[in-house]
Symmetry: C2
Subunit: 410 residues, 2 copies
């Protein structure tokens, strides 16, 4: 493919104009939106107003006057249609880690007698760690983590499994689980399902309601572009609400927080999944960032995402680059919006790419991740990334002298 | 006292210049810094740089390049001297509610065989709720909340008490506990102490190390002025560190988060009290807000705080305002930096004061809270508040027709 051909794809891209909604570093190709989404222009205006008018001028009155108190619900409801959830089932709060603790506890309470949290051993680590933390607190007789390889997940579903906890798109290789099929299989064995949508919300059409998903968590700072450490979200299907409480029962989840009653009485619905006072700066940034999605269908986003990753893979494979292996699935329907390549000198290559303005990241062992965010990435970005990688691999001396092949800190 | 006398007190106030470090609403007297601190000017600049340069331009590289990853530790260390803690014992993370869960769990693990969390029945509700949540999860045989009246606290200390959990300054009446004495008494009975510093950090000299306090939590958005829902902080004395884990064992508390190991191994020291990815916007705002404290002693802050509240109380009592009762302790050494008055028409009065630009808040039953933040409040603010209240109480018809006497939402 010639450079003209990539430019033509951009010219034909119906989502191309969305790039203008973001601040992006001049001259660089940012392919790490799977880790930290770019800055939407609307966020700066929103935060500026929040500081000057809401906090600076109106101060305490803003909890009601600017509706800070309602932000967890409001932002949750903005996320809901992006993940196929009807209103009243998503709330924005805390981190994924903390929200997993709430939901695993909920799952155990909803499935009395069952003690196992079944997961995948290469799930994102915090998911496993939070289940370990709960198991350590409750003791093995009440909670155990069973982490197995992906191909043993379905055969490991037995009558001890309270909840199957999986991440839809794997953080290392970008492989996409069949959420509908796995959910059905787990529920047939009496288990609940808890999906982590960190690497899929905002970039893949998800049908939580249609697929009868029980629970989910997701990330505000990847494809939703809410900013570094943006608050996470939490989904609990309507049919499971108001059945049990959750243990992080802070005052914001009380049915009447401002009654200041000494006894906890859980709020109805999703509000009981709130714990402490919400962080308004982070939540307001996410609120503004979500406006970029207004009027855009997830199908259109997915279509562009698949085209970007497929185009990247096709070009890489066509060039037969020495030492490079495709770790992600070759077929678009089996992967998320990232492409992972491996190379024995993966770390050195990732650093050299970054030096040349192609922003990727590295995960041991030897994995270079190229994340494509269809709201702002272009087909010409694919071209530049492939070209830079090809040139680098021809210059092995440069790599050898310039970098050692070790892991980065983040 | 004449108005001249108040102006003279301001002219003689060595901290008067600090007011210039804050954005304050023109023409108003803000007396709710005990609920939400005012906006420090430095925050706007910091957040503007964070958005434009760090997130917008440097993106993912900022986790190391601008040291986002170290913010929880760095901000914790900035708070440490304000609460009398040597380095390595304070970390900034999550909310007070979530941090209480971590520390109560830690306390139970450090005191095996003891099951009771002893607290005060009019503690701030979230403190009680979090203990209730843990008790509900673990079952009464492993954890129980025992909430008693303030005068029964010491007599309720028995060999079942794992931890005595108290808030140093009561949110309703502003009463100050004797932290040193109570800590000693509880420890003599084998219990640990967990202090909530929400209404005292940044406004009262606290000596966590000298008083041998075991654990503490505190708030970023009251007297530390970190902004709405700013992250909280958590203190654990060096001698208790690395003994046990805490159940919210997210990836940021792992000893090597970026190793992405499937097994949780807790980091040494305070880092294991981190759970998920920190919210960088909120934490950076708090980081910048704390710079106001540089070079200012807590003794000087306390001296001014006591003078402001005493001056207010003296003026109120001297005027003998009808129906007004002083709820807070009359002696400065027994109260924090707020003065609570009661009146049968407390809600109506609080709303009328707010309409006249005196920003206070209301807590049922009938309590009007006047919070004095010595970094920006003035003696002339005391004058204006007292004058406004006096005028209002002379105009009972206005109160009766303009407001109903009910609780506000927040």
């Amino acid at each position: 493919m010639t450079s003209d051909r990539f430019a033509k794809l951009d010219a034909e891209d119906p989502l191309a104009g969305l790039r203008e909604s973001f601040e992006l570093p001049a001259g660089k190709v940012y392919l790490d939106g799977n880790s930290l989404g770019a800055l939407p222009r609307g966020v700066q205006e929103r935060i500026s107003k929040l500081l000057q008018q809401e906090w600076g001028e109106d101060l305490i009155a803003s909890w009601n006057g600017h509706n800070w108190i309602d932000l967890p619900r409001k932002v949750g409801e903005k996320i809901a249609p992006l993940v196929g959830a009807a209103p009243g089932q998503v709330i924005c709060t805390d981190s994924i880690s903390v929200n997993l603790f709430k939901l695993i506890s909920t799952a155990l309470a909803l499935r009395p007698g069952r003690t196992v949290v079944l997961s995948q051993e290469d799930n994102f680590p915090t998911d496993l760690y939070m289940a370990e933390g709960l198991a350590g607190l409750l003791g093995q007789e009440r909670c155990q983590l069973r982490a197995v390889s992906a191909n043993r997940l379905l055969s490991s579903l037995d009558e001890d499994v309270a909840v199957l906890m999986l991440t839809q798109v794997n953080f290392r290789d970008g492989r996409l689980h069949d959420m509908a099929g796995i959910t059905k299989a787990a529920q047939a064995k009496g288990a609940l399902v808890l999906w982590d949508l960190a690497h899929s919300a905002g970039v893949i059409p998800i049908e939580l309601d249609n697929w009868k998903v029980d629970m989910a968590v997701g990330c505000g700072y990847k494809y939703l572009n809410g900013g570094p450490g943006a608050p996470a979200f939490l989904f609990l299907a309507q049919r499971h609400q108001d059945q049990v409480t959750q243990p992080l029962s802070g005052w914001m989840g009380h049915k009447d927080a401002f009654e200041f009653s000494p006894e906890y009485q859980p709020a109805a619905g999703m509000q009981r999944y709130l714990a402490g006072t919400p962080g308004i700066l982070g939540m307001a940034a996410l609120d503004a960032a979500l406006d970029v999605f207004e009027g855009i269908s997830l199908d259109a986003i997915r279509k562009k995402s698949s085209a970007l990753t497929q185009c990247f893979i096709d070009q890489i494979l066509a060039r037969g680059l020495p030492g490079i292996r495709l770790l992600s699935p070759r077929r678009a329907e089996h992967r998320g919006s990232q492409v992972s390549l491996t190379h024995p000198q993966g770390f050195a290559i990732s650093q050299a790419l970054i030096e040349r303005g192609i922003i990727v990241d590295y995960r041991a062992p030897g994995i270079i991740r190229f994340g494509f965010s269809p709201l702002y990435n272009r087909f010409t970005d694919v071209d530049r990334a492939v070209t830079a990688l090809s040139e680098l691999l021809r210059d092995q001396d440069y790599l050898a002298t310039r970098f050692t092949n070790k892991a980065v800190v983040t």
